[in-house]
């Protein structure tokens, strides 16, 4: 249906914020409904319905472990990606307390890592932050040198940045960590289900709703032999690593989504990457005074970020929302925290007028066409309202 013929109320909204959360994968929906019927009982009990729930949980664990490159007994499910990171960071620091109290992290990690680091500092621990270049990539040499200093209990590095899509040098960091005998926590939240997880991790974290699973399921994998001690009171669940009754239907759905998404990646990844490449190329051509940021090549397939000079980020998002685009910004957090995005700040790029486009599975090319058609005028109008012509 031609857009101009459609009344505003039925204007199709293009969802371009997969990096915040990927829409539920159809495979997850089916698995969830089935598991609500078959997997509601307490998997820790011994009767038939309980054993069925346990079987579903075991199968989901085996599937997730296989795809992420872990052993099933290394994988625990948490209630979110953030909880997985908090447990991964604080539990490893706790487990290696006698070895040292130093933690090394990248400057553009997810806030859950930085907040866990801040908690560690408040408890008297030391945190060293490795800086990034203008593409948002952590300096592998500096990171390696930092984690090799004596007393390092843990190093943390994301596979890919959540705001600008730049891939991080995880293989190099893993090699250095192994040589130094320091556990490396790899935060795979943005890449799990899309890219193979690099090996060499001691702790691995991920979040199901980023790959098309339901919200409320995180993954915490702890490599056999890694010292780890829960920062929480004792609990029997999830190999004693995560407290509380497992959400079996959601975990089953998460595993189904991961399997489906990983299988589709060979086709979907290059398709999304080509659309992102087009946005990267076209936006600076169509809109004056724009900087496309992040690594143009070593990046996530589905994510691109750019900043528009002389434009307020929130105004941009509001106008794009009115035009039918659900989209996010690294600068939108300014309103709530009065601080610009720590990622953009660490990179030394424009922190205002920032737009992050992240393409969900199955996004149509016409959505990207329409975005590129609408954007120049939206930016021009906002600039002109500030007296910039």
């Amino acid at each position: 249906m031609p857009l101009r013929a459609a009344p505003v109320s039925v204007l199709t909204v293009a969802y371009l914020d997969a990096a915040s959360t990927e829409p539920l994968h159809p495979a997850a929906r089916d698995a969830f409904m089935a598991a609500l019927e078959a997997g509601w009982a307490d998997p820790a009990r011994l009767y038939g319905t309980a054993r069925r729930a346990q079987m579903l949980l075991d199968q989901a664990r085996a599937d997730v472990a296989e795809i992420l490159g872990a052993r099933p007994d290394e994988v625990s499910f948490t209630s979110s990606g953030t909880q997985a990171i908090h447990l991964g960071v604080l539990g490893t620091l706790q487990g290696r307390r006698r070895i040292g109290r130093r933690m090394v992290t990248g400057a553009v990690e997810h806030s859950s890592v930085l907040n866990a680091a801040a908690a560690h500092e408040r408890e008297g621990g030391e945190v060293e932050t490795a800086g990034v270049d203008i593409t948002g990539r952590v300096d592998a040499g500096a990171f390696a040198a930092a984690l090799s200093r004596p007393g390092t209990a843990l190093a943390c590095l994301q596979t890919a940045n959540h705001e600008v899509g730049t891939l991080q040098p995880v293989p190099e960091a893993a090699e250095a960590a192994q040589a130094a005998g320091v556990p490396l926590l790899v935060d795979a939240a943005q890449s799990a289900g899309r890219l193979p997880v690099p090996g060499g991790w001691s702790v691995l974290t991920a979040s199901a709703h980023k790959w098309g699973g339901p919200a409320g399921v995180g993954v915490l994998a702890i490599r056999k032999g890694t010292r780890w001690r829960s920062p929480y009171p004792e609990d029997e669940r999830e190999h004693r690593r995560v407290p509380g009754f497992e959400n079996v239907p959601a975990i089953v759905a998460a595993a189904a989504a991961l399997r489906a998404r990983a299988a589709e990646e060979a086709e979907e990844g290059p398709r999304l990457s080509a659309l992102v490449e087009r946005i990267r190329r076209e936006v600076p051509r169509l809109v004056p005074d724009v900087e496309v940021i992040g690594d143009p090549v070593r990046r996530l397939a589905h994510l691109v970020t750019f900043s528009c000079l002389y434009v307020e980020g929130e105004a941009l998002l509001t106008e794009l929302d009115k035009s039918g685009f659900s989209i996010s910004s690294g600068s939108s957090c300014t309103a709530s925290t009065l601080r610009p995005s720590h990622v953009l700040e660490a990179m030394g790029v424009l922190t205002h007028g920032n737009v992050r486009v992240s393409l969900p599975r199955g996004v149509s090319e016409s959505d990207v066409d329409r975005f590129l058609a609408v954007l120049p005028d939206v930016v021009r109008r906002i600039r002109s309202s500030l007296g910039v012509h």
Binding site: T129, D289, R339
Partner: protein, 107 residues
């Protein structure tokens, strides 16, 4: 301690700060500028718009000082210099909070 890189347009790193702390610039004597733009209390992108509007009112090689206290300006003015091929000379902390960010007109 690792420092964030500067966003300055081909200038030296003069105002390092840690990624996780409030922006800080070295406390040093501030040289005179050819033009001072008072953008204190203004939110980004307004300080940068003011700078873009007025940079041509100093002569080539002249220095504009932008007074700003929006934390975004600390990163964004050097980034603007890089994008626009002007030079971020230095950033000085103001006693009342905020910074005086010096920019040299290159063309």
């Amino acid at each position: 301690m690792w420092r964030r890189r500067s966003g300055g347009g081909g200038t030296q790193e003069t105002s390092p700060r840690e990624a996780h702390e409030a922006p800080q610039a070295p406390v040093r004597a501030e040289p005179a500028a050819d033009l001072t733009i008072d953008a204190l209390g203004r939110k980004c992108p307004i300080p940068i718009i003011m700078l873009a509007e007025q940079i041509n009112s100093v002569s080539l090689g002249g220095v504009v000082a932008v007074l700003a206290d929006d934390p975004a300006a600390f990163t964004d003015i050097p980034a603007w210099c890089r994008l626009k091929s002007h030079a971020h000379v230095d950033t000085y902390e103001l006693p009342q909070g905020g910074w005086s960010i010096h920019v040299r007109r290159n063309y």
